[in-house]
């Protein structure tokens, strides 16, 4: 099944391959890294040698080890934020779509968060609660759910009138069971887009925050590597930027591009199952589909 999704789509394949490779490298960082990234292991600002394939930074830390561990930290933030944000998007979207009483306050909150400019908000929040990697995950995860909460809610509203839901309720299923067993599967087609977009957003924004000085000084991610490099006033006087700035920057671009290719690929791949039109007018515009569905429907007994 997974093979079908990306068949004939080179972009999606390339993106998936790069991502898998990066994840493997990140997972194996403790094995692959030649030194402890936190300890000085050579002379400061040393050019690449056989002992230090990517040279060392201003305090003599091995840059290859930092790069490997940095990928691990960046990916971890990406995965955790994606889990948190996706969970929230779906909970809010389904709740607001099914229980109409909750819709007004939840959608007001969604609108408020959508109206705020992201970077200044994250800056203030992370500065106030303290720049640790956990707080960055919390801030990004707790504030990045609104866009998809609205999309999920729209999908829930489109599915709300379906007969199979009515049937489930009539058979005595609790509202929670209806929501989880019968409604949730209908919204899962939105999941790949959400995961890919949030992963990209999280890696992107964690690096940006770290670059602006809001990274965890103890954690070591691609963003903090760049931040330390740019903190050095002598960075561009020598050649050190070649081995200091060049490894982490393209790595972030590569991950972001890979997720983008994957997202675009998934978007253009025809879905395996025919999708349900989102609303009544769209359904009416597809008479064939409507006719088929009508014929499949059991005749009401009188």
């Amino acid at each position: 099944m997974a093979g079908n999704v990306a068949r004939g789509n080179r972009g999606a394949w390339a993106g998936a391959t790069i991502l898998v490779l990066m994840v493997v490298v990140a997972a194996l960082a403790p094995v692959l890294a030649p030194y402890d990234p936190r300890l000085a292991s050579g002379p400061p600002m040393a050019a690449p040698t056989r002992l230090h394939p990517l040279g060392t930074n201003d305090i003599g830390q091995d840059i290859l080890s930092q790069w490997l561990w940095g990928g691990r930290a960046s990916m971890l933030v990406g995965v955790l934020v994606t889990l948190l944000s996706t969970g929230l998007s779906w909970s809010v979207g389904i709740t607001a779509g099914l229980w109409r009483r909750t819709a007004a306050p939840l959608m007001a909150l969604t609108d408020l968060l959508l109206a705020l400019p992201g970077i200044p908000l994250y800056l203030l929040l992370v500065a106030v609660i303290g720049p640790s990697q956990g707080n960055v995950v919390l801030a990004l995860g707790l504030l990045s759910w609104p866009a998809f909460a609205r999309i999920v809610r729209a999908q829930v509203i489109a599915l709300r009138g379906e007969r199979y839901l009515e049937a489930a309720t009539a058979l005595g299923a609790s509202p929670l069971r209806v929501a989880l067993r019968h409604l949730l599967p209908g919204t899962l087609s939105l999941l790949p887009a959400k995961v890919v977009l949030t992963l990209r957003f999280a890696i992107f924004t964690e690096a940006t925050l770290a670059f602006l000085g809001l990274g965890d000084p103890a954690a070591n991610s691609w963003g903090t590597m760049l931040s330390w490099a740019f903190n050095d006033p002598l960075l561009f006087l020598g050649r050190a930027w070649v081995w200091w700035v060049l490894p982490p920057a393209p790595a972030i671009v590569l991950v972001v591009l890979a997720t983008t290719w994957l997202a675009v690929g998934l978007e253009h791949t025809p879905e395996r199952r025919p999708t349900r039109p989102r609303n009544a007018s769209a359904r009416a515009a597809l008479p064939q589909a409507a006719g088929q569905r009508a014929s499949l429907r059991p005749k009401p007994s009188r």
């Binding site: 109206a115 992201g118 908000l121 602006l212």
Partner: protein
Amino acid sequence: MAWLLARYTGLANILVLLNFALPRLLPGDPLDVDSAEGMNAAVSTLTAEARAQLRATYHLDQPLTGQFWAYLQDLGHGDLGWSISQSAPVSQLIGERLPWTLALMLTALIIAGVGGTLLGLVSAWRGGRLDRLIVSTASGLAAIPEFLVAIALLLSFAVGLGWFPLHGGRSVFAPGPPGSAGPLGTFGDIAWHLTLPALTLVLAATASFVLLTRGMVQAILTAPYLTTARAKGLAEPAVALRHAFPNALLPVLTLFGLRVGQVLGGAIVVERVFAVPGLGLLAFEAIRARDYPVLQAIFLLSSLGVLLVNLAADLAYRWLEPRRGG
């Protein structure tokens, strides 16, 4: 219309409330000796009298409602607090830095908006290979975070080729006494310094304009009124610009409002890379010094600014498209 204004007023009120509440939601008391730590350790050396005086200065001796009232009054006077690290009123610091950020953002938004819509129009109109080239370049560039675009431009055009300055908003070691270059020379110097930062923002913001305009124009390519325009003998560029373009412009207006927040975030990052003395660099300095009043003021002003631009875009939309009503 009334509903729209009420919505934006409500949002603005929530922002002000949020800005007031955020530092007060945190545990601890800035003047409590037991919870003082790190830089605040100096608190323990204060006499009880001095502490009471500090409490009165920051209205901390009043109940929450009194604090909020004092906060609103200060805000009404344009008093945004006192910068701890720079020992200056926050409003003064922001006044000094705001023009740089505004100049960067405006330049970038105008170039990206105008250039992006025109590229989108050409892309949809001509189609074929040119279309694919424009779309893939634009979406590729949009996928790269601003600070990496900035670093790439800095490395290639400032470090490598040396065509542009490495950092700053104007030349520090300009020949001759300050101001001797004349207004035109000063302007040229600033423009030279701001080229790469503005280019970064343009590259990041153009894609959404291209894609939106392209989509809008593609949707009306076969509209009967375009056939009419051609039938009465108009040249192709006139058909595109006079008859197709205006109909694609309305959503671009909304997009303009939506992009402001993102361009602002981009400007903050880009200023750090190029050390442009704008709000972004101020924010960066404030982060390093944990200067919360400055960060709060930057957040409040930028979010109110973004709200205002979106309100303007919404109003303009209603004015240009009466069918949407209001």
